[in-house]
């Protein structure tokens, strides 16, 4: 008896018991259903989101009665009309769209050399340093980081004090459009690098050696070999950055100081300041529509990049 116990350890018996239990709860003939069962939580979550969208759609068709502060009973397109005609909303939308495009371009330009160096450096110490530097901001969080910029860029901040030492009068570095774009680029950089790195890893270094032996200097190697092959990574990273910065709330709120609102800030104001749920819902839906349109357009023009896991790329 003792001998057999050694040959068949306790952990195996426990596993056998668990497997038996699992087989009773989920018989083998249900096996085909298992993948769908595992899909269920995700489907449920997305489903709730869709229900929310329907609810928002309903709200967007009701206007706020300013005398009673209740939503109207009858459905109307007045909110959409206001959103499309009032110059305030056009300004916010234009600022957000232009901002997200600028942020995306600048971020990609900054992220590319970073990701390239991280992938290609022969020194593993440097690679680790670059990776840690990349992940550190993630641990800090967006609001704290934006607050950090307030301290650094403020009128009595480090930058202005340093400028004061060389005789430059204090400058207003905060609460303007460039400050918001600067904060967004800094916030987006790690995302872009993380999306680009796998795409660059997939380009064999030998291709660049080959290009140079065939007569291409580094600039032409970059232009004709690296850039075209990195396109899926650039598209993927660009999509992530453009959607995240278009919908960002904290950076425009903190670094813009209320003067540089993006769409998300306008939505927040409608819901929580003026309590105009209808207008807030309208702006939300329009943001979803514009974002989807933008992503769809990029998909059509450039393909889905690294976001489409077709396995076609080698």
């Amino acid at each position: 008896m003792r001998k057999s116990r050694v040959a068949y350890p306790l952990t195996w018996r426990v596993m056998d018991g668990l497997e038996g239990l699992a087989a009773r709860l989920w018989p083998a003939r249900f096996e085909k259903g298992l993948p769908y069962l595992m899909l269920a939580p995700a489907v449920l979550l997305v489903g709730i989101l869709v229900l929310g969208l329907v609810q928002i759609g309903d709200s967007s068709l009701r206007v706020l009665d300013t005398s009673t502060f209740l939503m109207s009973e009858d459905l109307t397109l007045a909110n959409y009309h206001r959103a499309l005609t009032e110059s305030f909303f056009a300004t916010v939308a234009g600022r957000s769209l232009l901002g997200s495009v600028i942020v995306t371009i600048v971020t990609l330009i900054f992220a590319f050399p970073y990701a390239y160096l991280m992938v290609r450096t022969p020194s593993s110490a440097l690679r680790k340093l670059l990776l840690v530097a990349l992940f550190l901001p993630f641990f800090i969080g967006q609001v704290v980081r934006a607050y950090g910029w307030l301290i650094i860029l403020g009128n009595q901040g480090m930058v202005n004090e340093a400028l004061g030492l060389v005789g430059v009068a204090p400058m207003r570095l905060l609460y303007n459009y460039p400050a918001v774009l600067f904060g967004l680029v800094q916030y987006m950089l790690p995302f872009a690098v993380l999306m680009l790195a796998p795409a660059l890893t997939a380009i064999p270094a030998e291709l660049e050696s080959a290009a140079s032996s065939l007569g291409a200097n580094w600039l032409r190697t970059f232009r004709h070999v690296v850039l075209p092959l990195a396109r899926p990574g650039l598209v993927g990273a660009g999509l992530v950055v453009v959607t995240l910065s278009l919908t960002d709330f904290a950076i425009p709120a903190i670094l813009g100081g209320g003067t540089q609102d993006f769409i998300a800030n306008a939505i927040y104001d409608q819901f929580f300041r003026t309590s105009d749920q209808g207008m807030g819902a309208t702006l939300s839906l329009m943001l979803v529509a514009v974002g989807s349109l933008l992503v769809g357009l990029v998909f059509m023009l450039f393909g889905a990049g690294t976001l489409a896991m077709t396995g076609e790329r080698k």
């Binding site: 050696s209 290009a211 140079s212 032996s213 065939l214 291409a216 075209p228 080698k314």
Partner: protein, 372 residues
């Protein structure tokens, strides 16, 4: 270190002078010197880690030598970046551009080198024909077979008429039949264009088949530079003898030396052979090397005729390889050493089985004696 060269300077395509490469404290290449005349096909042969690829990368310009100088067409090239050297290279993994068609790949060096744009399509077509890929120009790289991709890589490396073609083991990944076909293809194209070629490989058969000259490398040092036949028949040292072909080594002491002939005393026997090194003298520890195919094998000593060295043994293993049988014979007279023997006549010849008593014989001139 001066290397004697009978060639006039202007016929030398590549001249490597005392080139060394140090990575940290590893000497990847030490004091490598050789001259390669124009139009010749040179193979650098060696095991992995022997420094052969490092040497090739220095010639291509991807790495700068830590000492010495490389001359291409009599011009020092250490300060010349790869894209300014006129060198075509076929890479180990081919390094074809996957986002271009076969024709675009071949046109790439012409565009980068700013050739006349109107002449490019014609030239691309001509080189695709040269590598027997006429009509395949529009194919994407992933629509081509392994052998076809090899051919695109060759066409791309040759289309701009480089001074020098470098091959970095491009055939290593192919299956044997395709590899042998491509070896002959390299040979044909090289002869047709007359381009000076340096090939790097660990495949001794490839080195013997394709090359005009062979350099054998080991431990960062050039062990021998010779024509293939010469490297095979007269290896310069024990490493070369062991690396090319299948060789049996019999260890012993030099008993006497008279000119090139030596006698080796091993395990109480005296075996006649020929000395390779000048410095080998009586009393030196040595190893006699005999190729597996230069040993005859028979049931009785009489059947071996007048071979100068005869030993007796027992068959330990018989391996049938199709065109030949490889015997491993245990020879008590040589301290129980296993001697490998190729028998190339499996049809008419007697076939021996493990346990059979046999007699082995070879000629004195086929035993090369090296210093230990």
């Amino acid at each position: 270190m001066a290397v004697a060269s009978a060639e006039p300077r202007d016929s030398i395509a590549v001249s490597v002078r005392d080139v060394g490469m140090v990575f940290g404290d590893v000497h990847a290449v030490r004091n490598a010197s050789f001259d390669l005349p124009k139009g010749k096909f040179l193979t650098i042969l060696g095991p992995s880690g022997s420094g052969k690829t490092t040497l090739l990368r220095m010639i291509a310009g991807f790495d700068a030598p830590t000492s010495g100088e490389i001359y291409i067409n009599d011009r020092p090239v250490s300060a010349v970046p790869p894209h300014r050297r006129a060198i075509g290279m076929v890479f180990q993994k081919l390094a074809l551009f996957p986002h271009m068609t076969a024709a675009e790949n071949v046109a790439f060096p012409l565009k980068m080198r700013r050739h006349d744009a109107r002449a490019i399509p014609g030239k691309v077509e001509r080189y695709l024909h040269l590598v027997r890929l006429g009509g395949y120009g529009g194919r994407r790289i992933n629509e081509l077979s392994g052998g076809q991709q090899q051919r695109v890589a060759i066409a791309r490396a040759l289309v701009f008429e480089p001074d020098l073609l470098l091959l970095d083991e491009p055939l290593a990944a192919l299956d044997r039949k395709l590899r042998e076909e491509m070896q002959l293809e390299f040979r044909r194209i090289q002869k047709e264009l007359g381009v000076t070629t340096i090939n790097v490989t660990h495949d001794q058969r490839e080195a013997l088949v394709v090359s005009d000259e062979v350099i054998v490398m080991e431990g960062g040092l050039i062990q021998q530079k010779a024509e293939p036949v010469h490297a095979y028949r007269a290896p310069a040292n024990a490493f070369v003898a062991n690396f090319i072909g299948v060789t049996n080594f019999i260890e012993g002491i030099v008993a006497t030396r008279d000119g090139a002939s030596v006698s080796v005393s091993a395990h109480g026997r005296t075996l006649p052979g020929v000395a390779v090194e000048e410095t080998l003298a009586a009393g030196d520890a040595c190893a006699g090397a005999v190729r597996a195919e230069q040993i005859r094998l028979a049931p009785h000593a009489e059947a071996l005729g007048n071979l100068e060295t005869l030993v007796e043994g027992t068959v330990a293993d018989a391996i049938f390889e199709g065109e030949r049988i490889v015997y491993e014979v245990r020879v008590p007279g040589l301290g129980g050493q296993l001697v490998r023997v190729f028998d190339h006549d499996p049809v008419n010849h007697l076939q021996f089985s493990p346990g059979d008593s046999v007699c082995l014989g070879w000629n004195a001139r086929d035993m090369h004696v090296f210093k230990k």
